[in-house]
Every structure is written in structure tokens, then in C-alpha cells.
């Protein structure tokens, strides 16, 4: 349940942003969930709902967007996605990645040239894409 830790960061950030902008309330928070980290939306949503009670974010609408992971090889330039690497990602490995997404570099390699020097172009983790305050 480390989703709770992520939720604390999200609500804390939203409240701070609201205060900095002299807002009375936070209306909407758009949260992007990167496919690689594989955060459980339901658990995150539950934690966020608990944490926003009694804050200026209490009525905030929570919107989640999933972002597919895209990898790009630094050696040959090939781009690929999670589905192509599915076989290599066992349950245990997924759990490690869930905590620290960068660990993916220990396990995956470029499907084309085999290099392990690649970058996660999109879909790494959780971030706030948009916020509406008033």
C-alpha cells in the first residue's frame, strides 16, 4: 500500500498550490498514472478521498489518466512498449518496479539490439497534470 504515500504527496502539493494562489477551494485534480509504476488506481483514489477530507480539496474532482509506457533504446533508437517486454516482467520484478521504476533497467533490454541502455520516454510514474482552483 505505498499508494498512500503517493496520495499524501498529491494532496499536499494540491493544497500548497491552492494556498500559493489564494484559492478558496480546489475544484479538480488531473492525475496521470504511468503504466510502468503500475499504481492501483482504486487504492490511490481511496487514499486521496480520505486525505482530502477537511481540506480545501474536499470537493475536488479526481480525474485519472493512464499513460502507456514507451521505451527508447539509446543505442539503436528503437522504441517499444510494455506489451513487447511482458515476458521478461515477472510478478517479483513488477513489484520492485512498482516501488522504484528505475529498477526496470536491471531487467529489460532493447528487443532489437539487446542493449540495456534505454530511456523511459513516457509512462514512468505518477504526476499531477492539471489542477483547477478557485
Amino acid at each position: 500500500m505505498h499508494e498512500w504515500a503517493l496520495a499524501e504527496g498529491i494532496i499536499g502539493t494540491a493544497i500548497e498550490y491552492g494556498k500559493e494562489n489564494n484559492a478558496n477551494e480546489i475544484v479538480k485534480i488531473v492525475i496521470v498514472l504511468g503504466e510502468l509504476q503500475d499504481v492501483e488506481q482504486e487504492i490511490l483514489e481511496f487514499a486521496l478521498t480520505q486525505l482530502k477530507k477537511d481540506t480545501i480539496a474536499k470537493n475536488a474532482e479526481l480525474i485519472f489518466e493512464e499513460e502507456r509506457a514507451v521505451f527508447r533504446c539509446r543505442n539503436c533508437g528503437y522504441q517499444w512498449n510494455m506489451k513487447q517486454s511482458e515476458k521478461e516482467l515477472t510478478e517479483d520484478i513488477r513489484e520492485d518496479i512498482h516501488f522504484v521504476p528505475e529498477v526496470v533497467h536491471s531487467f529489460l533490454s532493447c528487443p532489437k539490439c539487446g542493449s540495456r541502455d534505454f530511456e523511459v520516454v513516457k509512462g514512468r510514474g505518477v504526476y499531477i497534470k492539471e489542477m483547477v482552483v478557485r
Binding site: A5, E8, G12, T13, E102, M131
Partner: protein, 246 residues
């Protein structure tokens, strides 16, 4: 927006003092000093956490002889296991033995993630074993620990003293608090002490060359009884002067 910035601040909310251990160069005994300092503060009766963020040289778990095969428990975050009385967290729980070809920015991201998910709860002291050198990981990390009181480790080597001087200047430029400098492997000259005076930072003490220390790795109790441990305890006493366990 990156929710981890605020997340880290909240995770460290109930930590009274945060002491990142830095060194200009590698190989000056930063990990041994971090670990032994944490154990010393525990012996003085404080609640202590130890966090190893030295990605390439993570070795606090070896010094503590702490198993890393199982992931720490989770409950509203990650709970650091208690090892020899201190709460211990390390990047090695998640990086495996496999060589992991990470670029600077990726290492920073991994370290920041650890800071953002670890639940220390109430602590008197959190000791952070930082990446060595003056590279981008150190720079990335110190932004996330604005409350840190930096403890610098040097050796009498003119090369070490020279790099440390740059490190002090860098920390001062960023308005970071510097707790002081510890001199490891003290022998012969007073270069470190003179530099501390010149840079107006506290000289917190010296640790002599300790021949037996390598043979004590993995035996924290023996380290505490060695000259190395005794000298570090004096440093710990200087750091806590006035502080009382809660």
C-alpha cells in the same frame, strides 16, 4: 507537477534532525562513518534512522550485516526494517545484484522515489549516506532535503581536502546548514582542521587510522567497541550537545 517534493517534506515531518553525510571524494569511509554515527546516536538513547542513498557504493547493509532479500513491509508507505535498533532503509532493497546501467537523472529519480515513499515516523535523527562527489545526484538530492544539516567527511590527503573545500563552498552557496567536518584516517598533518578554520565550519573531530576496521565489517557490536567506534561516539556527543532523547 511532481507530487514527490511535497511527499518528501511530509514523510520527514516528524524527524527532528536530518543529517546528510557527504564527502568530496569516494573512499574516505563515508559509509562506515554514516553507519557508526547512527549506531552511536542510538547508544546515546535517541531514535535513529539510517538511509543509504549511495547508489553505486551502497554498503551500509554490509556493515550492519543486514539481509536485503526481502522487501520492507508496506503500510501507507514503506516501513524501514529495524536493524540493531535503528530504522534502516537502502536503495539496495530495490536494486538487485544485477548491474543496472542508469544515467545520472535516472539515479536521481530512484533516490528521490525512496525518499518519497519511506515512512520514518518519529525520529530524533535521520542519517543519510549520500552519493559521493559533487555530481548531479548530490545536487538533485540536496534540493529535496532543505532542512538537512550536512556533515562532511574528509581525509588528511590534500586531494580530499581540496575537493571538500569546493563542497563546502557549494553548500554555502545554496544556503545549506553545515554541521561540521569529521576527519577520517587522521595522520600527520592538520590540513583538514586548517581548512575547516579557513572555511569557518566546525571541526567535529578526528578518527585515526584503524587497522582492524576492515575485519569488523558486518559486526556492528565490534565496530562500536573499536577505536573507530569510540572516536565516532565523541563526534556524536558533539552533535547532540544539548539535545535530549524524546
Amino acid at each position: 507537477m511532481d507530487p514527490r517534493v511535497k511527499g518528501i517534506e511530509l514523510k520527514l515531518k516528524n524527524v527532528r534532525r536530518i543529517i546528510p553525510i557527504v564527502s568530496g571524494k569516494g573512499g574516505v569511509g563515508k559509509s562506515l562513518i554514516s553507519t557508526t554515527l547512527a549506531l552511536s546516536l542510538k547508544e546515546l538513547g535517541f531514535e535513529v534512522g539510517l538511509l543509504d542513498l549511495d547508489f553505486h557504493g551502497a554498503s551500509d547493509h554490509v556493515i550492519l550485516n543486514s539481509p536485503i532479500s526481502e522487501l520492507p513491509d508496506e503500510e501507507k508507505g514503506v516501513i524501514p526494517p529495524v536493524v540493531h535498533g535503528i530504522k534502516f532503509m537502502s536503495i539496495v532493497y530495490y536494486s538487485t545484484d544485477k548491474p543496472t546501467p542508469l544515467r545520472g537523472k535516472e539515479i536521481s529519480d530512484a533516490l528521490i522515489e525512496i525518499l518519497a515513499i519511506t515512512r520514518w515516523d518519529q525520529l530524533d535523527f535521520l542519517i543519510i549516506d549520500m552519493p559521493p562527489g559533487l555530481g548531479e545526484q548530490l545536487l538533485d538530492l540536496i534540493r529535496f532535503i532543505p532542512r538537512g544539516e550536512f556533515l562532511i567527511v574528509s581525509t588528511p590527503s590534500p586531494l580530499s581536502v581540496n575537493v571538500v573545500e569546493k563542497l563546502v563552498a557549494l553548500l554555502k552557496e545554496g544556503n545549506h546548514r553545515i554541521l561540521g567536518i569529521v576527519e577520517n584516517m587522521h595522520a600527520g598533518n592538520n590540513l583538514t582542521e586548517e581548512m575547516a578554520e579557513r572555511m569557518r565550519i566546525k571541526y567535529l573531530g578526528e578518527i585515526g587510522v584503524c587497522d582492524e576496521i576492515d575485519s569488523l565489517i558486518g559486526e556492528p557490536e565490534s565496530i562500536m567497541l573499536s577505536d573507530f567506534g569510540k572516536n565516532l561516539k565523541k563526534v556524536a556527543e558533539r552533535i547532540v550537545s544539548g539535545d535530549r532523547p524524546r
